[in-house]
Symmetry: C2
Subunit: 181 residues, 2 copies
């Protein structure tokens, strides 16, 4: 069984695919920083890696986090200090393995041509696990390290195929923690 | 068993509580409009009611939706047109019952002093159901219509008690659709 802390999460902004299927880079949004950190704090997952090659994006995230960790935000809302203390910046996903010998699990809104893992069973296996989400139109997997596997996509029942990455994270974390024995 | 379309969702911006427990009003954010509509489209819930008393907020949401329903956004991304076609604006939550004889189910991050319903079983009952979320520090229930009941809060395992309302919606909808028989 995995222990709290055995699950880490990464949100990748490069390399990801754009709408045309080309390799691309997206901007980090403050909403993603907050929502990813909040959901991970709620389910006790850490760290929350924000992956972006540009120094300017790192500076923006550091400014946001400083406001809550060391500035006025954290005095007004100490819970948010706890939340944002989980955020770590990386220039590339591969750097995460300098922190811990993570097993890498990639996510996709469409079914990749791979054997798929259910997150409910994954969370019963010893980690540390790193669950990796892509922004844009998803991870550009051929330019990323080979993963241990892919998580089964979340299936909807409506006509629309893509959840927001914020919603997908919340659902995976809920399923993970409910599946734990 | 509920049919697709038997579940509607409302996001209330007034009356809600502020951090001090006072009755308050929040601003609608474009991110909430998109994330609520996307998650509901993915799980085939509709309508998505955005509840706010101010005309200016209605105008902002109408501008956002027009861009995707009738403007350049929908040409570039037809899926987003399907998503945002679900959005309905209300000045007060009570107006929703002019659309349909909804059963009202309120949500809270903390356990209300009420009998709690599990969303997994709720979704097997005939509707129409309206699942109601509050912004700010939650619904100011004493100023809202009496609900049929309250949904059981989503329980985390970390130190942090509050998910974002976007994450909470995603988790409830996933549990609802997975609980259906």
């Amino acid at each position: 069984m995995s222990q709290p802390g055995d699950i880490a999460v990464a949100l990748v902004h490069h390399p990801v695919l754009n709408r045309l299927g080309e390799s691309s880079t997206t901007a980090i949004t403050s909403m993603d920083v907050h929502d990813f950190a909040r959901t991970c704090a709620f389910y006790d997952a850490a760290p929350v890696y924000m992956v972006h090659p540009a120094e300017g994006m790192h500076a923006m995230v550091n400014d946001i986090c400083d406001h809550w960790l060391r500035g006025a935000g954290g005095e007004r809302n100490p819970g948010r200090r706890e939340v944002l203390s989980r955020v770590r910046l990386l220039h590339s996903l591969g750097q995460a393995r300098e922190d811990a010998p993570y097993k890498l699990w990639y996510t996709s809104a469409s079914s990749p041509q791979e054997a798929l893992r259910d997150i409910e069973t994954l969370c019963n296996e010893s980690g540390p696990h790193l669950i990796v989400f892509g922004t844009g139109s998803g991870l550009d997997a051929v330019k990323l390290p080979s993963p241990n596997g892919w998580l089964r996509p979340i299936e909807g029942i409506g006509k629309v195929r893509h959840l927001s990455v914020r919603a997908a994270l919340a659902i995976y974390m809920d399923r993970c923690r409910r599946g734990e024995r």
